[in-house]
Symmetry: C2
Subunit: 335 residues, 2 copies
Amino acid sequence: MKKIINDPANFVRDTMEGIAFAYAGKVALIDGDVRLLRSTYPRKKGKVGIVTAGGSGHLPLFLGYVGQGLVDGCVVGNVFASPSAAKIEQMIRACDFGGGVLCLYGNYGGDRMNFTLACDSVEFDGIVTHQILVKDDIASAPIDQKEKRRGVAGLVYAYKIAGAAAERMYDIERVVEITQSALQNIRTIGVATAPCIIPNIGSPSFVVEDNQIEIGMGIHGEPGINTSTMMTADELANLLLDKLLDDMPVSSGNTVSVMINGLGSTPLEEQFIFYRAVYMRLKSMGIRIHMPHIGEFATSMEMAGLSLTLFQLDDELKSLLDAPACSPFYTNYNK
Amino acid sequence: MKKIINDPANFVRDTMEGIAFAYAGKVALIDGDVRLLRSTYPRKKGKVGIVTAGGSGHLPLFLGYVGQGLVDGCVVGNVFASPSAAKIEQMIRACDFGGGVLCLYGNYGGDRMNFTLACDSVEFDGIVTHQILVKDDIASAPIDQKEKRRGVAGLVYAYKIAGAAAERMYDIERVVEITQSALQNIRTIGVATAPCIIPNIGSPSFVVEDNQIEIGMGIHGEPGINTSTMMTADELANLLLDKLLDDMPVSSGNTVSVMINGLGSTPLEEQFIFYRAVYMRLKSMGIRIHMPHIGEFATSMEMAGLSLTLFQLDDELKSLLDAPACSPFYTNYNK
């Protein structure tokens, strides 16, 4: 295993300290706890707090979006593992600015259980919480079981919309409603060409054969919907678009934001080659693209492959997507 | 070869079209030529134009820095190959705003030859040009032959400083002088843990054995100064810092900017773990870090490993580094 790390047992600590050192003044660990990262910009009293959480190993997800107009605090667990309910509770309390706290996270069993416990605890102290689970991965369950779907790169759009709504001082009911309406319009599908290695395991957790790709693989290596032989970028873009558009029809004249998300070791060149194919297909269908996001947004360490997200926009969602935002890993340069 | 591409012969075209589609309105191809990318923001008459060039396969280098407060135009060649003199000449003409044009690029034979031919041509038409070659890679030649050194990630700092100086409407002599003074203070060394594959070759151009790393490897796979067994992030950081500080002594009380540059497939987690070690060592020496840059700045497609750059700052350089800048791949969020 060739990773530029120290003791694998310190992987999360070393990563989090690196981030805290690099962005001191923008983000901070709560009481030096390497599992708890919060934003430090001055918040107005009554702003809805937004808390997220998830396993480590997905940078920039989850903690890269701790910043202005995005997420107020993030709790991380071990690699690919949920953080504890106690830590989540601590973060919810730290992100209560008097307007309630929105817990916004991916639909995974451990996170769901621990957020629910944490929300129950803080409720005794009068902190209003709402939970919204992101379920954008269309490959993880069929449409008639969409409540079972996992959350992947669509989380980033959810953070952006919720964060912008909170920054406008909307009340928590409105932030929840807008975020839920955004999530109705967000779909993702991924493809893996090579696995990643969990540091304290030391070997790949799955295999993708030479000249094979795994369509629909999850960001923890969850099996995809089928294995296919390698194809061209254009073919792959069309295949993934077919699946997304089948799940969420988009019509000529509609506007979408497109996210091309490198899973960790996919060169930017390949991401732009793939984007070109997506752009040409959508253009031929009369669909407009607004503010494409291309790069690494939700990775699995050094996994190879990418995911494609479509986010169908109306005027309100477009304006929230355009709203100012900045964090260590997100700026909306391209609005 | 598992790359998400189409015909390898179209690798550069497809990449450049993807970029032009994604950032339409910010950057544009000159006359639709996929080798010529320029910025589209309104420039003041008399601003020094800044042109760079280099081979493809290094995104975000070179063309990701085409933007405000950075580089005005970029010419790309085939993967790892210099673009032609004719294309460079065309870009110099397009970036002449009446204040002369600074040609700022890495010290490679092909680029040097072609820029020199191009500068000679435009001179006949009264366009003043200056050439500055970036030579920051300390592993590519010993200090007594530093004119032979190659340019690597330090290019990004050079773009930032020159771009900010030009944006302040300094005349070309002053932009040149400041950029050269910056380059005196910039040193880089890299380490590769795995090679990359050139698309139209289809197999790795060099081998790094299991559990081995190549210290000082260039961004085209040029051999390093020695092969070593894999070590921890802390050990590696100290080894690379020793080499950099030996080449450019930095004293207690001084301020540096630090760039940790992933070579293509190095997870962000590893980059932050490495940054943590650099931070702790420099802190223990009484050296302050200003505006660290951590991420992918100058890659070799899917090569694994990273480079470390130190940029020693004085007040003027610090102020230029802090100045506003934005391009598809650079914002100075972290100033």
